[in-house]
Assembly symmetry: D2
Homo-oligomer: 289 residues x 4
């Protein structure tokens, strides 16, 4: 069933619901859409409510907020500032009950499309050491971690996070990660926030086992941005337009094996990742003080 | 005829000849293949001899040497050393008549897949200033230039090169550039050397007008390595396997406009470009002294 | 007279005038100081008026504007925005008569403290190619160049600039460069603008012959920021406090030769250069449209 | 007693013994020197044997091996290969009893002079995940970690390491770190290996509490390379040559406070750190298989 997997090679709950008919998502899933025309933003809140919903969407019970902003990949500073404020409001609400936030920037900082997580950490205002020393007061405790990827460390990301969580005992883990999308129009233009953690096998680099309350011992909030499309997804979608039978054909006939592991990125990926990671770190910084 | 263009979206003379039947390349083109099994390398020398050959291949009269090395994208140092020596031999022969070589590293050093040219310059042993001051003697004059791309400079690459050529008067211009391939098996595994310069519209970033003896005033040798595949090329090739009619269909139906400007790269592109650029700069360094 | 050279190892006209007694600068030099307390900025305008002034200051006839901003090396965005606006006003006045500006970012982008110039170019809004194609209208023509350093290219910076100037014929050359300061309090906190070009032997990397109207054929405006202190300058200043005789002693006794070529930088040099280069490129961008 | 601290601002045991008279190091310290003239290397083995030795040298009981190689900062590949082999031999002996090695690259990868540790990790051949999956057999277990610095993470380096050690249970921790030297001739030319861990307050960035068997629970071997000199050390040494009284004077009179936190680095620090980190990672890679 490899084709099956390819077709659903998206980390965005939003893209999964879009592909389903209305009747299919009726039970166990609620969808709410907010438009903000002034700011050219659209927010979709998908709630997976029960086992039924889990099965339909293929993601665990929880809330998935998707914020789409057409200009997010452009170097328009005032737009990024607005998005930052909007995101900060959402985060303030989601994180309000937690005193000490550990932010983990997942991904490989040597690969541009996968460096979103580490880049967010590099612009973050961390306070834990400053508050311990009394240099900063009345702020929220923020600590941060760039665990790297298994190819670099030989260690599962979740092992490093779990070990650090046990030592410093944060109240919540906020993970930032680059995702894979299905639709090219979402690349670098969408931010997904969910409260279910990160499932194995998703993301750009497949770099971890599940990171969730079950594995790390504290609540996990995940922020993700799609920065790539997998090549098989892309080809499958093109073929689907040509033939009704694409579902039943093996993509193996149309793609050489080397391509299965390749990704599609826009030319301006370096700049786009820089901009969006800055927007996310500014949003987090805003809720610190 | 955009589809036409997409299908031939390769900068490798080798890939064009492969797609033609034997009778088609009979007149005006000669092809010679050398295997070096010890070193897991294959060399193809394509000579376009006359107007007929020009029309068939779609590239100007001249010689196109393609060196394919399966392990070129891997971090195997001894293999890279061998490839470096092999390349140095070819360059020594091609450049033997020139005293002063200006090496220009084309491309955008901020985009990994396009940074091959600038990366080669960064490892180059330049001698011009040292020989002028008498610090180095009995070496070949080597100077270098990273002209940048038009999006960054507002200046055509050929204008910067031409201006510099007029000032420092080299005997030959050696340009290094990242190319687009058609076949994923060639990505980061093939080096093309030609004596015709660089034609407009090729390369990763379309970043220049023709760079040739006609435009810069001195002989031009070009070294290119394919580091990306254009998305339309990829999809077209997949569709061709599905239907005989792909030739006549418009790819516009199968690809959203955003994708037309995107590229496919392997995940290890950062490491691959680093390795190959080093191999090329070492080959050039070898012929300096 | 090496000590002599060491003691004056500053590229800032301001630091030279500070070391001179009032009577010494009386003739041929005018100094005007503007404070802007709201914005925590101080502007000093030094005019070298004649040969007398040239001899006293050791710099050519012309105007040297120094803008000092205490918070310039800090990541305070609103302060940087103010500085950007202030700088834009000065540049708008100085450059008002020119239609086409070529901006050259001098220095080695591989060495943090010397990468200010190239970094400015990377954030610049260049318009020349867009206006040629009619995509942008009613803007000022801006083109840009990162010539590299002689150790990398074997070519004098002035040769590449001169060649490009002849090809594209700008009305003025605006060069951006990292400088050496004498006083640590000025590091990454001072911007100098002058209309005399750049003299040999200054800057972090000593990477050029004179770049001036005489050598490149168009007016030259230079923007410089001190990012380093030379080690001999530093030691000499410390010794001067200890003994009146420092002037006459040879620093050779107190510094091993290896140190003569080393530089002092603050730990946060990476961040400071990133911030200031962004502020300068924003100021230039502001006068484009 | 700040001057006292400044004068001893070296992380090299070798530089401490050099400053002491022969009688002072008689008791509790043994020193053995090996020359390897063929390879232009000198090895000094300092053993601190007891409390007496600890007090004299100011470092804990243990063995400190210093390898000096004049050409270590130069881009001479064959020399680096020799140094790599030499270092590999020492490491093979020191680490022979351990099956699973966790290598931690300390320091800030955003500051060139402090990025030695992270750079070593980036070139390391890690095997833990490959051996778990059976892809690699008969190799030594190697895992790796880039913990970052407290300014970036808000977490003590030792906390992240300790947490990870508890999760993955290595037999030994090998830490790599950039150090501060006193003598400019040692910058980027010396490698120190010791079996005592890392004491608080040393290194470029003061970025941790003690990392030792006591704090992390497994044996700790440390590899360090001096990449900077602290400015106060430098000035103090210059002043000492001028006056006998330097010991008793306050450096505060000769150095402005801003300088106390600045460092001296050579211009080629970027290249030097790249070369040496590669040499160290190659040495570690050699003992893996």
């Amino acid at each position: 069933m490899k084709e099956q997997k390819w077709k659903t090679r998206t980390d965005l709950a939003l893209e999964i619901t879009e592909n389903l008919g209305e009747t299919e998502i009726e039970d166990g899933v609620s969808i709410q859409i907010n438009y903000n025309e002034n700011h050219n933003m659209k927010e979709t809140i998908i709630r997976i409510l029960n086992k039924n919903g889990e099965q339909t969407i293929g993601k665990p019970i929880g809330t998935y907020i998707t914020i789409e902003g057409e200009d997010l990949s452009l170097p328009d500073e005032s737009y990024h500032k607005e998005m930052s404020c909007f995101l900060a409001k959402r985060l303030a609400y989601i994180l309000k009950q937690y005193k000490h936030i550990l932010v983990a920037g997942l991904g490989n900082d040597q690969i541009t499309s996968d460096s979103l997580g580490p880049d967010v950490i590099k612009n973050l205002f961390v306070t834990r050491h400053l508050m311990k020393e009394g240099i900063v007061k009345n702020a929220r405790l923020v600590s941060a971690l760039i665990p790297g990827v298994m190819g670099q460390t030989g260690i599962e990301t979740v092992e490093i996070i779990k070990g650090t969580v046990k030592e410093i005992k944060p109240d919540v883990l906020l993970v930032i990660d680059a995702l894979a999308a299905r639709n090219v129009k979402r690349l670098n233009k969408t931010i997904q926030i969910c409260n279910t953690g990160i499932a194995p096998g998703s993301g750009v680099g497949n770099h971890r086992k599940e990171i969730s309350k079950k594995t790390v011992g504290v609540d996990v909030i995940a922020i993700g941005v799609p920065t790539v499309i997998a090549v098989p997804t892309l080809v499958n979608d093109a073929l689907s337009l040509l033939t009704e039978d694409a579902d039943e054909m093996s993509l193996n006939h149309y793609i050489v094996p080397e391509l299965l592991d390749m990704f599609v990125t826009p030319k301006n990926i370096d700049e786009a990742v820089k901009k969006i990671s800055y927007t996310i770190s500014e949003a987090i910084n805003e809720i610190v003080i």
